[in-house]
Symmetry: C2
Subunit: 127 residues, 2 copies
């Protein structure tokens, strides 16, 4: 089970810095939307993105979730992507995220394939 | 020379997600103050911190600098720590950063050794 603070920060409209590893091990970081259920941190991206390719080769990631009201208040989780969810579930999830962050569904004109990166957390650092 | 947008975001009172690599290559991310001169991104930390130890073993880092006024507007730089600056220069730099972020000098009671991580950028990603 995730730490309740991770869940609450991830379920609110806060941004996260997701880091994945390039083929040579160099870290790559992207600031993006985030979500969580009780067990996993969830990141929604597109199948063709470098970060999605990275985690299929090396599933190790870090996610820093930053309280939008106070950037000194952040959590870091380290872990691995244990599942890449594709299909209608991933599309429905980006619509839900768009509602959370923008109040509107995700742009219907964007039809690239979405994926959910389901992240199992091995280490949580609370600040 | 750094991209002017990197310099302007780093010199304003924005926060950055610094990622370093743990001994096994797992990424570790910390949200913190940031600075830049015309050539390097600058991170001030303490000598005993895991992130400072990490970069002495593997200097590869990523830094995502997030516009506090608009988190969709961020830059990512990837590069390597080319110098670890110690001594009075590093202490003066944390005082300057504290003034930028809090309006006050850094707490005099905190006497742990400060270091500046001087980061040479090999790749800049503007959003």
């Amino acid at each position: 089970m995730l730490d309740p603070k991770v869940v609450s920060l991830a379920q609110a409209a806060n941004f996260a810095a997701l880091t994945t590893l390039l083929p040579d091990g160099q870290p790559q970081t992207h600031v993006m939307w985030v979500d969580a259920d009780d067990e996993h941190v969830l990141i929604n991206t597109e199948l063709h993105r470098q970060k999605a390719r990275n985690v299929q080769r090396d599933p190790r990631v870090s996610v820093a979730i930053i309280d939008a009201a106070n950037p000194y208040d952040f959590v870091e989780v380290r872990g691995t992507v244990v599942e890449v969810v594709r299909g209608p579930v991933a599309r429905a999830h980006i619509d839900a995220l768009a509602l959370k962050y923008t109040g509107k569904p995700y742009a219907p004109a964007i039809t690239s394939e979405r994926v959910i990166l389901r992240i199992a957390v091995s280490r949580t650092v609370l600040r």
